[in-house]
């Protein structure tokens, strides 16, 4: 059997190995690229201390999954113009939120819990990631993540920080549906509410100025106040003075009903007040009887020393007795305010029903029209003027409301960014390092292919040795030769192919006369000399059995082979062993020409050309 030679096996399959490795590496690279995803990630941190208690600034539960809520993602889809291209759910499923707990605080929590103490700690730092496919690319991943967090920051602020928005009550108001006084009252109420909201904002952040609108909440409040004190009050006074109404009867009826309702509500309030007083007295009495009114310093709990008490347990701690008193006060206040509102309603009725003194017999009192409407020739003109003034005021107020909304929106974004900070801005990484994995795959394949080549080469050696090698001569055997001839059946031989046959003619005689061992030794001598004679020529040796050798030579010619075999004969004559045995052998040589271009034909030709030789006996 051939020696184990690694390079021989590799050399044989080197081109295949290289091609296979390159093709397979390319295929792996393509597969990795196509199945690769881009993950955009950003680290955010909730700055509010309450976040570590798992609550929002207003005390509700902090749910970080709101980042990928449909409310947020639908806005992202809208902002990016992806409506109809991506479903909200498909994007939500690609957002992931990973908490990054503080190791020290986690350890502290565990220690406290082990001691049986309550300790609340929730992570306030999170990695927010969005995964995009290879087709969508890294830019898409980063953009979606950026937009998602933009929207979430604003939503968070709107929901949990800047709770009360400035409501625009006059937006799309149908002025035809209201009487003049009702309309200006509605506008006045709206302005009043807006001012309350703006004052709250001013208190929170007095110097905040939106860059988009260029105004502060204080500027907006001043503008609302200005419109209210100048134009709205002017409208009120004109409506009162000129008794401007769309329908006096309806107006008077409305305010009369309001008085009636106030009266009913008052009765209800009085009843509640009476009951509340009863409860208060009973409560005090019972407290007195049970000894709960004799409070001394000894009742103060030690925990009041704990600073964290206020941070952990904020909220309303009002005691029942206080609540009862507040209830009494509130109901009384409602009752008294209703009385004042009734007075105001009477004032309105009087104003619109009053006679200006211009009618002769106070006919206006029984008329469905106001006195001014009946007797002032300019009534319609004044009414039109007021109509126009109301429209103009609504337009100006709407503009102001829009500015307020824009300012508020920007304030929300500002608060969002101040309540949630970014610790590491969006970075995108492929889920798989395609370059690195491709290189690894290439070398892996190379090692695999080389290993395979070595194994295959060695297996081939073993198979050849077992099935296609004659163990006596170490030459290829008859089976190999048959296989060779079969494989060459439909092929033409290359130029320069020469077949030579060497047959030991008297092998049977030698075996009989001496013994089989001598016969075998003679075959070995032939084998050795043939190998020696053919040297480095491209010869393939076959022992066909029964003392018959076939040598297939490539890139040679008849004369060269004839010379080699002549040397072989000489070498045989000069042999050192079994000199006393007469060796009879035949040598046949054939070179391929036009008429014998197939293996079988060339072999027949070689057989035909066999000539007898005899080695000398010394």
């Amino acid at each position: 059997m051939n020696n184990f030679q690694v390079f021989r096996y590799l050399k044989k399959l080197l081109p295949i190995i290289v091609v296979l490795c390159v093709v397979a590496t390319y295929a792996i690279n393509f597969k990795l690229k196509s199945s690769n995803t881009y993950v955009a990630s950003e680290v955010i941190h909730y700055n509010d201390p309450a976040a570590e208690q798992g609550v929002t600034p207003i005390g509700s539960k902090l749910d970080v999954n709101e980042i990928k809520s449909s409310a947020v993602m639908s806005k992202v889809v809208e902002r990016m113009g992806l409506t109809g291209v991506y479903s909200v759910d498909s994007l939500i499923s690609r957002v992931s939120i990973t908490p990054l707990p503080d190791a020290d605080k986690v350890a502290q929590k565990e220690a406290k819990l082990e001691e049986g103490e309550e300790y609340i700690y929730e992570p306030s730092t999170y990695i927010v990631s969005f995964t995009a496919t290879n087709y969508e690319g890294s830019v898409f991943a980063r953009t979606i993540l950026d937009e998602t967090l933009d929207v979430y920051f604003a939503e968070y602020s709107q929901k949990y920080v800047n709770v009360a928005p400035a409501n625009n009550v006059i937006d799309n108001i149908e002025s035809e549906n209201y009487d003049y006084i009702e309309l200006v009252e509605l506008i006045d109420t709206g302005v009043d509410q807006t001012l309350s909201t703006l004052y709250q904002r001013m208190e929170q952040n007095p110097y905040y100025r939106a860059t988009g609108t260029g105004v502060s909440f204080s500027d907006l409040a001043d503008d609302f106040n200005y419109l209210r004190s100048v134009r709205l009050s002017s409208l009120f006074s004109k409506i009162y003075k000129y008794q401007i109404t769309k329908n006096k009867t309806v107006l008077v009826s409305d305010y009369t009903t309001r008085i009636d309702n106030n009266s009913i509500q008052n009765t209800k309030e009085e009843s509640i007040i009476k009951d509340t007083v009863g409860v208060i007295n009973a409560y005090v009495e019972k407290m007195r009887e049970s000894g709960n009114t004799n409070i001394t310093y000894e009742y103060i709990l030690d925990t009041v020393h704990d600073k964290n008490l206020l941070e952990v347990a904020p909220g309303d701690q009002t005691v029942t007795y206080d609540e009862l008193i507040y209830s009494w006060r509130d109901h009384n206040e409602s009752k008294e305010h209703l009385i004042i509102d009734t007075a105001y309603s009477h004032y309105i009725i009087d104003t619109f029903s009053a006679c200006t003194g211009k009618c002769h017999n106070k006919e206006c009192l029984s008329s469905s029209k106001t006195c001014t409407e009946i007797y002032n020739a300019n009534y319609d003109k004044i009414k039109t003027e007021i109509d126009n003034e109301i429209k103009s005021l609504i337009t100006d107020l709407s503009t102001l409301y829009n500015t307020t909304m824009k300012t508020n929106d920007e304030y929300n974004q500002y608060l969002g960014a101040s309540y949630i900070s970014v610790l590491s801005s969006a970075s995108v990484k492929p889920s798989v390092n395609v370059g690195l994995y491709t290189i690894i795959a290439f070398f892996f394949l190379l090692i695999l292919c080389c290993g395979g080549a070595i194994v295959l080469g060695r297996v081939n050696d073993i198979i050849n040795y077992i099935f296609y090698t004659d163990h006596l001569t170490e030459f290829n055997n008859r089976a190999y030769f048959d296989k060779y001839l079969k494989s060459m059946e439909k092929k033409l031989l290359d130029d320069g192919t020469v077949y030579a046959m060497v047959d030991i003619s008297n092998l049977i005689h030698i075996n009989t006369e001496y013994n089989r061992q001598v016969g075998d030794d003679i075959i070995k001598i032939f084998t050795s000399f043939l190998k020696e004679a053919f040297g480095k020529t491209k010869a393939d040796f076959i022992y066909n059995g029964n003392g018959s050798f076939v040598i297939l030579i490539k890139d040679s010619d008849y004369i060269t082979v004839e010379d080699i075999l002549r040397i072989f004969s000489l070498r045989l004559n000069e042999r050192e062993e079994y000199k006393n045995i007469r060796l009879e052998y035949k040598i046949g040589i054939a070179e391929n020409f036009r008429e014998n271009q197939t293996a079988r034909m060339l072999l027949s030709e070689a057989i035909k050309n066999k000539k007898e030789f005899v080695s000398q006996i010394i």
Binding site: E147, Y207, G212, S237, I280, V284, I295, H337, Q413
Partner: protein, 452 residues
């Protein structure tokens, strides 16, 4: 697109020649001994006319194509220079969003600015990409990074190849700068955006209210700026506080004292009757508010009275103040809150009373006044003067604000454009020439090896 393909053809040919040459030498080297191999290599002529001609020809073609192709690609680096950038925020404190650099609005503005023809926002957007110059690693706290520099790349497509690439990226950068300044930097519009009312049609007292509103707006702006940069000194050696002091003084003397006093003492009004009616309405309205506040005040007092003495006992408890220092405080009960509320209502009642009295004073003054053309003329002149002064204060405040903004924002955004440099092109051409020479030399050497 075609140029891009053509540019790759010479590279491909040279690549193939290199591989063919190397393989030929490899296979034919089996036909020679080692000594012969070395001999062939030693006999190689490194400067052959044929090789040099091919080299010049190939490199020339590649150079031209590379030059044309490189004109299609250009990039720019956008740097954020303001302090909030390191917090991933815009200069107004909102969250920074990098994708806005190539948003539709910016591209639209760039097209408009450069009067770019035959290109849509969508087509141009497809040629642009933006990414951080340096990005951190979210998985390692030590490698957290807030990006403040962003690379904008432009690669011309068939729809945009008629445009000058460097011009396009310059326009995008400029449009983004404008967009950013407009949206996120300090807004200096103040009252400029508002249309001024026609003073000739306004009541004198309304003009006073208007002037008060305007000066308050300027003051608010200045106080806000002073909060950010109290020590900032402008080119004119003023600070925000000094300008605010000037404006405040002006408001108190010129508007509140001079103009208001003149109007009040002479009882001047454009339409006395209407104005008196309006003030009367306001008084009536304020009176209703006063009644409500007064009722609430009384109820708070009544509620305090109602408190049972036994239920309001207080004890001293250890507590701490705002600075964290302990002191002995007493327990808080409902009476405390009601007392505070009562004070608030009391203040409101007083405020209502003052408003009513102010209005009554104006009404009485107007009623008792005779027509005085001279006073009207003086008031008109003063109004004109005050109006101009407010304009001047506004301009001064805005100028100071801009100076401060320039100082802190450090030009806010800086852009550097990296086009196709000659050096970069030469490097590519040199690399190609070297590769071509190697390929041609290998082919030449391979021919010297015998086939058999």
């Amino acid at each position: 697109m075609i140029i891009s393909l053509l540019q790759k053809i010479p590279v491909l040919i040279v690549g193939i020649l290199l591989i063919v040459g190397a393989l030929t030498i490899y296979f034919r080297s089996k036909n020679v001994t080692k000594a012969e191999f070395v001999k062939i290599l030693k006999a190689t002529k490194f400067l052959q006319v044929g090789i040099l001609i091919f080299l010049v020809l190939f490199t020339g073609v590649f150079g031209v194509l590379n030059h044309i192709e490189s004109k299609h690609f250009v990039s720019a680096v956008v740097s954020l220079n303001y302090s909030e950038a390191s917090l991933a925020q815009n200069s107004n404190g909102t969250r920074y969003n990098m994708s806005e650099i190539i948003c539709d609005e910016v591209i639209e503005k760039a097209i408009e600015k450069g009067a770019l023809e035959d290109v849509t926002v969508k087509e141009l957007k497809e040629c642009l990409s933006v990414y951080p110059y340096v990005q951190g690693d979210v998985n390692d706290k030590a490698n957290y990074h807030i990006s403040t520099e962003f690379v904008v790349e432009y690669y011309a497509s068939k729809h945009t190849e008629h445009l000058n690439s460097e011009n396009v990226i310059a326009l995008i950068a400029s449009a983004y700068k404008d967009y950013y300044i407009e949206k996120y930097t300090d807004n200096f519009s103040l009252t400029e955006q508002e249309e001024k009312p026609d003073f000739t049609k306004m009541e004198y007292m309304d003009i006073v209210t208007y002037f008060n509103k305007e000066t308050t707006s300027v003051l608010n702006y200045l106080y806000g700026m002073a909060e950010k940069g109290s020590s900032f000194v402008t080119e004119n050696d003023t600070t925000f506080n000094s300008i605010a002091g000037k404006v405040f003084q002006f408001k108190e003397t010129q508007i509140e004292q001079n103009l208001k006093s003149l109007i009040l003492q002479h009882g001047i009004a454009k339409d006395k009757s209407s104005y008196i009616d309006r003030l009367a309405y306001q008084n009536k309205n304020t009176d209703f508010d006063k009644q409500k506040n007064y009722v609430s005040f009384n109820l708070c007092n009544d509620a305090i009275d109602m408190y049972s003495e036994e239920m309001t006992r207080v004890v001293l408890v250890p507590t701490w103040d705002g600075s964290g220092k302990y002191y002995m405080g007493r327990t808080k009960v409902g009476v405390d809150e009601l007392s505070v509320l009562a004070t608030g209502f009391s203040d409101s009642v007083a405020s209502n009373n003052k408003e009513i009295m102010d209005n009554e004073l104006i009404i009485n003054k107007i009623k008792s006044a005779n027509t005085n053309a001279s006073a009207n003329a003086q008031a008109d002149a003063l109004i004109e003067l005050i109006d101009k002064s407010i304009d001047n204060f506004t301009t001064e405040a805005i100028k100071a604000g801009r100076e401060y903004s320039n100082y802190t924002m450090n030009q806010c955004i800086a852009v550097s454009i990296t086009g196709a440099s000659l050096f970069r092109e030469l490097k590519a051409v040199a690399a190609f020439a070297l590769l071509t020479y190697a390929a041609l030399l290998l082919i030449s050497i391979s021919k010297k090896f015998p086939k058999f």
